[in-house]
Symmetry: D2
Subunit: 343 residues, 4 copies
C-alpha cells in the first residue's frame, strides 16, 4: 500500500500518518518527492483496511501495490530513481561508465588505470579486492591490501571506487573504501549480506544472479530498500542458458521490462556477460541502445597478463575506440555519457 | 578444404581442379569472388591429401577448414556474403527491414499494410500463409489463398514477399510467390525441408530454433548451402531459457559470434523475441547497435484485432516512431536503412 | 467439451449426438469405453452452449475440458490409455522395452541383434532407416534399404519394428514396415508431419522436443489424436539445459505430471537422454521407479564400431545386466516387463 | 598430485613426506585409508616435479589429479566416502532419510514430528531455524528460538538434527545444535560461508545451486574439504530450466556422473525438486533407483497449515506410504534404509 500525501501536507500530517501505520503494526517508508511526499507501507500479510488511513488529514489517495516487491516497484515510485555518487549519477538521461580491472593486482597498475580513466572522463573505477572464485585454489584477491590500494587511487585521482563485498564482516571496511558497494551475482540471494548492506550509507550495485528471474532480482533489491538504503543500481551480467557461443548469455532483453516494473537504474556488464573481449564493444553499444543506464566494463593496461578474466578485458586503446562509438550513439538516444552528478 | 585459385587463373584451370575433386569422389563448390575464385570441397570423411591438388596449374593455396560447417564458415568465405532480392540486399553496411502482419488475414488488410510500408521505403513484406501453430485447433493460415493475396500485394505495390514454408510439398508454390522463403524456428532441424529448399532459387531466411546452439544454426544453414542455394539469411528470434520476463529470451549476444564464425547475414526478430509490443522498439535498436544485418518486425493496421500475435505487433504509428529512431542510429553505426539492391 | 452418454445409450442415440455436434459446425470424437461411450468435441473457439446437447436422449452429462489439449487430457479420458502392437502393449502395469541400434547398418548386424533381443523376450526392435543428422555430411541412414532390412528382421524373428519417419513423403513406406512409427525430437513441432501420421494406422511414438514444455508435448500429441490416430506413446529423451554432465538432461521429473495431465503412456530413452553408456542402466532403473510405461534403449553387438551414437549404446552383456536389474524392480513397482499384448 | 604411501609405511615416513610438501610451499592433506595412507597435495599452480617426492622412503607412487577439484575427486579417493553422524551414516549400501518440516514453527509441532519419525526409524530431522526467503516480508524463521526447539527435539527423542546456516556469524550456534549443517542452494557459491563451515566439526550438507554445474558443485565441496572438513554430503534439489511442469527440474541424471567423478555421497531432495506433494513419492523412488545415497523430504503433521512450502510437504500417512514403497525397492538395489552408523 502507498499513501500519497497532498502537495501542501504539513510535516505534522506526514508524521501522523507514519504513527498511525506503526500503530497498525506495519512499517512506514517515507518517500519524499519533488512536489509531494508518499509513504510506502510494508509488513502486512493481507490487505490493509483503507478506512484506517483514508480519513487522516493531508492524505490525498491510497494506492494498492500489486507486486511482491513494493519499494522497488514503479507502482510506489513512478519516476525513475537517481542514484548519486560524488562523481556522477545514474538515472534518466545519464549513461555513466564504470571501468577497471577485474582484480586489484598492485598499486602501480591500479594507479595507471585510474589516471587513464580520469583522463577520459570516466567517473568510477572498478576493481576487486575480495574475489569470489569457483576454486579454493585460485587467487582470492588482495583483500584489505586491495582496499588500501583502491583508497589510494581515489585520493590520487578523485575517481570513485566500485568494489565487491563478499560477507557481512567486510561491509564496514568495503563501504568506507568504496563509493559504490557491489554485490556479486553469486551472492544475489545471500539474504544476510543484503540485510547488512541495507544498513550502509553507500549505493549498492546489485548484480543479477546466474539464473535469477527479474522478479527475484527486484526482490533482492527490495531487501536493500526495505532496510533503509534507497540507493540501488541493478546490473545485468549474463545468465546461464544452454547456449555456448559465449561464457554467459548476456540478457539485454531484461532491460525494457526492468524499466517498466521498477524505477531503479539498471546497468550492463558486457565483460562478464560475454567473456570475450571482441564481443564487448558491440554488446556495450547494444546495451546503450536497449535503454540501459550505464555500463561496467573490464579494462586493464595489459589484459593478457591480468591475474583474472584477461580474455574478456579491453586494453586502453580498445576502450578508447569503444568510448568513441558510444559517444556517437548517446546523443540520438538522449543520453549523456559520464555526466557530472545531478543536483 | 578450400582451394584458392591464383588471381589470373583461367576458367580451364578452375574446371581442371573441379574435375580432379570429382575424381577423388568429393564435391566441389565453386565460390567466385571479386578478384579470384575459390573452390570449397565437402564430402571427405578424413583429411584430404594436399598432394592431389597442390600441384595443379592455377592453384595458389589450400586451406584446411576446421569447423564442422564448411560453406557457412568464414574460413571458406572470409568476406561477408551479400544476399539480394529485387528490392534490397542484406550484407555489410545495409540494414533492410522486413515488416508486416503475423498472418495474412485478408486482401484488404494486407494491401493496406503493403501500401503503408512502401510509403515508408520498406522493401519487404512479411505475412504467413501457412502458420505453424502449437494447437491443432488454432487458425492454421489461409494457405494457398494466402499465397494468392501475397502475390497480389507484390503486384500492386512492388514490395517483396517473405513467407514461411512448412513442408516439402509447399516449397514450389511458396518459392513462386515469395522473394524470400522462410524456415521457422520449429523447423530449423527439419532436415528434409532444408534439403528441399536448398534446391529452390529463392533466398532462405533461416530462423534459429528455440534451443539451437550457434553451431547447430550454422549446420542447418550448411544443409541449404550444400544443396546449392547460397542465399541464406540467419535470424535470431529468441530462445528458451528459465527467464519469464518476456515470451522468449531474445539473444542478441549471438550476433557478434555469428559474424565472427560465418559470412552469412544475420537479422533479428524482436517481435517473436520479446512477445511484447512495448519491448520491440528498444530491442530493435539494440539489434542494430549489436551489429545485426536487418530486422523482421510485426506490423498490423489494428494489432488488437490481429488473428495471431497481436500483443507483440506494432501499429503504423508505433512503427513510424521506431523507424525514426533507427534512422538516427544507422548513420553512426555505418548502416543504411532499406538500401536499394547492391549491384 | 465432453459428452458422456448413459450406460445403456443406444447406437442411435450416440449417432444423434454426433450429428447434432456436426450441425453446430464442430468436430465429434467418439471415445468408446468399457461401460459407456463419451464423445469429445473440438473445433469450438468459445464455450459451447450446453442447451444444444443437454436434452438429447441418452446424454448423461456434459464436462467442460479446461486444458488447451482436449483428446490428450485426462479430463476427457480418465483411464490410462493402452497402446497395442502385435507383440506387446503399453499401459498400466506394463513395462515393454524397445531396444536396438541407433541406425540400421546392415542386414547381418540387425538380424543378429533381433535374434538376441527375441531370445530375451524383448518385443520391439528400434533402428533408424532415415536418420536426422545435424550435419549434412554425416551418414543419413540406409533409407529404403534400411526399411527392407527392418522388414526382414520382423519376418525372420517376429519382433516388432520401431523406426523414425522424417517427412510426409516417407509416411506410407515407414508405416508399412513399422509396428510403431517414431517422430523424433527435432520434428515434435513439425505440424505437417504430425497431421500426416495422424492418418496412418500405426501407433506413433512421439519424442519430446529438446526444449518442449509438457504442454507443448501434449499439444503435439493432440495433432495426432485430433487427426484420428488414438495410438500415441509419449517419450522423454532428455532436454537442453545449462547442465553439462551429460549430453542432454534426462528429465524424469516430467513423468508424474505427464501421468496426471494425460492418459497417454510415456516411456523414457535413457540412451539419448544421457549420451553415456555407463549412465544408461541407473537412469533406466530410475525411469521404471518414477512411473514410466516403458523404455527405448540403444543396444548394438559392438557399440564401439557403431556408425552413430556408439558412446551411449550398450553391448549385449550390458543389456542383459540391465534387464536383470529391471526384472527385480518391476514386481515391487507393480509392473510386468515386456508383457504379451493386452486383450 | 596424490602421494600414495606403501602399506607398511611408518608414521615417520608419512610425516617426512608431509614436511617435504610443506617445504615446497604446498599444502599436504593426509588421507588415511584402511590399508595405506595417501597424501593429497594442493596449492600448486603448475605441475609438481615428481623428483621432489618420488625417492622419499615409504612412497609407493605419485598420481597426477587432472580435475580442478582435488580432494573431492575420485582420482584422489577411489573408495566411496562414508559420512557419519551419531544416528546413521551415508555411504555405499546405505540409504538414510532426513525428514521434517520446512521451518521450525513451534515446539509442539516439532516434537510431534520428531516422535513420529523416530517411531518409523528415521535417524535425522530437518527443520529450518534460519530461512532464506525470496521476499524480505516473508517469515524468516524462528532463528535462535528455532535452534533451541531443535535441540529440545534431539534431547527428547535422540533424533539427529539437520538445519541450515545462512551466514558466518551463525555457524558456531548452528553447528552446536545440529548433527549436520546445511548450506542452501542459494549459498552454494557463498565462498565466505563455505570457508567458515570448513572449520566446523559437523558434517556439511551442500545443496546444488539452481544453475550450478556438477563441476561447480564439486568445487564448492572442495572449499569445505580443503579447509579441513572431510564430512561433505552433496544434495541434488532441482535446477532451473525452461520446463514449467514443476517448481524446479529435479535433475536425477546428475547422480551417475557425480558418483563417477567424486567419492562423496549424494542425496536427493524431491520436495524442493518438484514443489508438488504428489510428485514427491515417484521421484523419491526414482532417486533410490538412480543410485542416490539418501533423501531429504519435507514432512509435516498438517501440511496445509505449514508456514512455508506446504504444497510440497507430505503428511504422516503419505510419508508412511512412501517409506513402505522405498523399503520394497531397497533390497533389490542393495541398499539398507536408515542404517545404524557404520563402524
Amino acid at each position: 500500500m502507498l499513501v500519497v500525501m497532498q502537495r501542501l501536507a504539513s510535516d505534522d500530517q506526514v508524521q501522523q500518518v507514519i504513527r498511525k501505520i506503526q500503530e497498525l503494526g506495519l512499517t512506514p517508508h517515507p518517500l519524499p518527492g519533488p512536489t509531494r511526499t508518499a509513504i510506502g507501507i510494508t509488513g502486512n500479510t493481507g490487505a490493509i483496511d483503507p478506512a484506517n488511513l483514508d480519513g487522516l488529514p493531508g492524505v490525498m489517495e491510497l494506492i494498492r501495490v500489486t507486486k511482491p516487491y513494493k519499494l522497488a516497484s514503479r507502482e510506489m515510485h513512478p519516476d525513475d530513481s537517481i542514484v548519486r555518487t560524488a562523481q556522477t549519477s545514474f538515472g534518466p538521461g545519464a549513461f555513466p561508465i564504470i571501468a577497471g580491472p577485474c582484480s586489484v593486482e598492485n598499486e602501480e597498475m591500479l594507479l595507471r588505470t585510474a589516471e587513464f580513466l580520469v583522463s577520459r572522463g570516466i567517473p568510477l573505477l572498478r576493481g576487486g579486492a575480495f574475489k569470489p572464485r569457483t576454486s579454493p585454489y585460485s587467487f582470492q584477491g588482495l583483500e584489505h591490501e586491495g582496499l588500501r590500494i583502491l583508497r589510494k587511487a581515489r585520493e590520487a585521482t578523485g575517481i570513485g571506487i566500485v568494489t565487491e563485498v563478499m560477507d557481512a564482516s567486510q561491509v564496514d571496511d568495503v563501504a568506507e573504501a568504496a563509493d559504490i558497494v557491489q554485490i556479486g551475482a553469486r551472492n544475489m540471494q545471500n539474504f544476510s549480506l543484503l540485510k547488512r548492506v541495507s544498513l550502509c550509507r553507500k549505493p549498492v550495485l546489485l548484480k543479477r544472479g546466474l539464473s535469477a528471474t527479474l522478479e527475484e532480482l527486484l526482490m533482492s533489491a527490495e531487501y536493500v530498500l526495505a532496510g533503509g538504503n534507497r540507493q540501488v543500481i541493478l546490473c545485468e551480467r549474463g545468465v546461464r542458458t544452454f547456449a555456448d557461443h559465449s561464457r554467459n548469455t548476456l540478457d539485454l532483453s531484461v532491460i525494457p521490462p526492468a524499466k517498466e516494473l521498477s524505477h531503479l537504474p539498471i546497468i550492463v556488464d558486457p565483460s562478464h556477460g560475454t567473456g570475450r573481449r571482441g564481443f564487448v564493444p558491440p554488446m556495450a553499444r547494444a546495451a546503450l541502445a536497449a535503454g540501459a543506464d550505464g555500463l561496467i566494463v573490464e579494462v586493464h593496461p595489459d589484459p593478457d597478463r591480468a591475474m583474472s578474466d584477461g580474455a574478456q578485458t579491453l586494453n586502453f586503446q580498445q576502450f578508447d575506440q569503444l568510448l568513441d562509438s558510444l559517444r556517437q550513439l548517446a546523443a540520438p538516444l538522449g543520453r549523456q555519457l559520464n555526466p557530472r552528478p545531478a543536483t
